[in-house]
Symmetry: C2
Subunit: 223 residues, 2 copies
């Protein structure tokens, strides 16, 4: 194999977590994962340690690893924070972006637009999730603050964990494609206020779509 085993496991486990393939709070048994990926426990532990620092999994000393929990409160907090950071990034990207940035945004939007959203199981298709993340990343990428981008990436990753919950209630009545187009057009027009407004609405609407489904899931668990 080209990359190291730890790296491979880390990346695969990460996309699985972001895609919601493991239930929050679910126990992540090291030996099970080891046989699933057919690598040693050491590689698994190392990957899990990195994911722990990222906050995607929680480590309980002597008691193993679990998938990080989700909650309505966390979603709201996360959304608020995302609006803050994403809009700041966007403003700086618009002020700072060159032609290459514009081209990358257009390219990413095109890929996103032509990728079907739905997967066979009713959730988002993996390729759409990827294209969606790439589009938002492309928008922010021209921001000239490495720290801001880094925090943005962290927040965006955590947001992805909530995304697949949205699909169940989001029966096509939300025109995400329209929102993405508006974002791109405002960015290319170099209209910061319009772009920020679009971004704020977009992120807020994501929360509004996810929250009911999440709330239902929470009460289901209790009852």
């Amino acid at each position: 194999m080209s990359a190291s085993a730890t790296q491979t496991v880390y990346e695969q486990l990460r996309v699985s977590l972001l895609a919601g393939q493991y239930r929050p709070e679910a126990k992540l048994k090291i030996s099970e994962l080891g046989s699933a990926f057919s690598v040693s426990t050491g590689a698994i532990r190392e990957a899990l340690a990195r994911l722990t620092a990222e906050g995607l999994v929680t480590a309980m000393p002597q008691r193993g690893f679990r998938v990080a929990p989700v909650s309505v409160a966390d979603l709201r907090d996360l959304t608020e924070m995302r609006i803050e950071i994403e809009t700041k990034c966007l403003r700086r990207a618009i002020a700072n972006g060159d032609l290459a940035w514009e081209a990358a945004v257009v390219a990413a939007h095109h890929r996103l637009a032509v990728t079907p959203i739905a997967a066979a199981d009713g959730g988002f298709s993996p390729t759409w999730i990827l294209a969606h993340g790439d589009f938002h990343a492309a928008l922010a990428r021209a921001c000239d603050s490495a720290w801001m981008l880094r925090v943005r990436d962290l927040l965006f990753a955590h947001n992805e964990r909530y995304l697949d919950l949205a699909r169940k209630t989001d029966r096509g009545n939300r025109d995400a494609a329209r929102e993405h187009r508006e974002l791109m057009e405002a960015a290319l027009a170099r209209d910061p206020d319009r772009a920020v407004a679009a971004m704020t609405a977009h992120i807020g609407r994501t929360r509004d779509t996810i929250e009911p489904a999440l709330r239902r899931a929470e009460t289901d668990e209790v009852g």
Copy 2:
């Protein structure tokens, strides 16, 4: 020992890194660290993996781990971001803090005020660094956004790496104690604007103190 070996190594390595005991870019040999802490290489690897995700060390596949680099550009970026986040936290803490918060702030300030700054080697004393971190943490702690606090902690940790560089140029001509007192008083007076102004000045002054020393260190390395 009570905690796990990995946890112990992680914590100790972290404070060592924040205290600047390892030179930036320095190689962190796993076997050396293993014998130094007298634990196996596995525990070291796991601790380093977590620190990598935190950004305090960088991992190069098949080439081991290094202490994360520092630079003037990073310091400026970091400072800008810190001002954004710390002031936001502070506003929310002031709006949200109760009596327990006030008490904690006063207590932390007292500990900070009575702790001598200088260590024997001319750098900051470890106890002062701890008290300083605790004071700033206490100020922010009443902020009712877990994500904001988390990002704040991350940024503050990285800032600490630069702190010891400041000591060399900071020949007592900066009245840090005065700045901390002003911060506390503004917070207790529940005056957000005054507190934010004090915080902005405080963080900016830290950068202004560090940057010359850092710039000199950088040119020294090249020359």
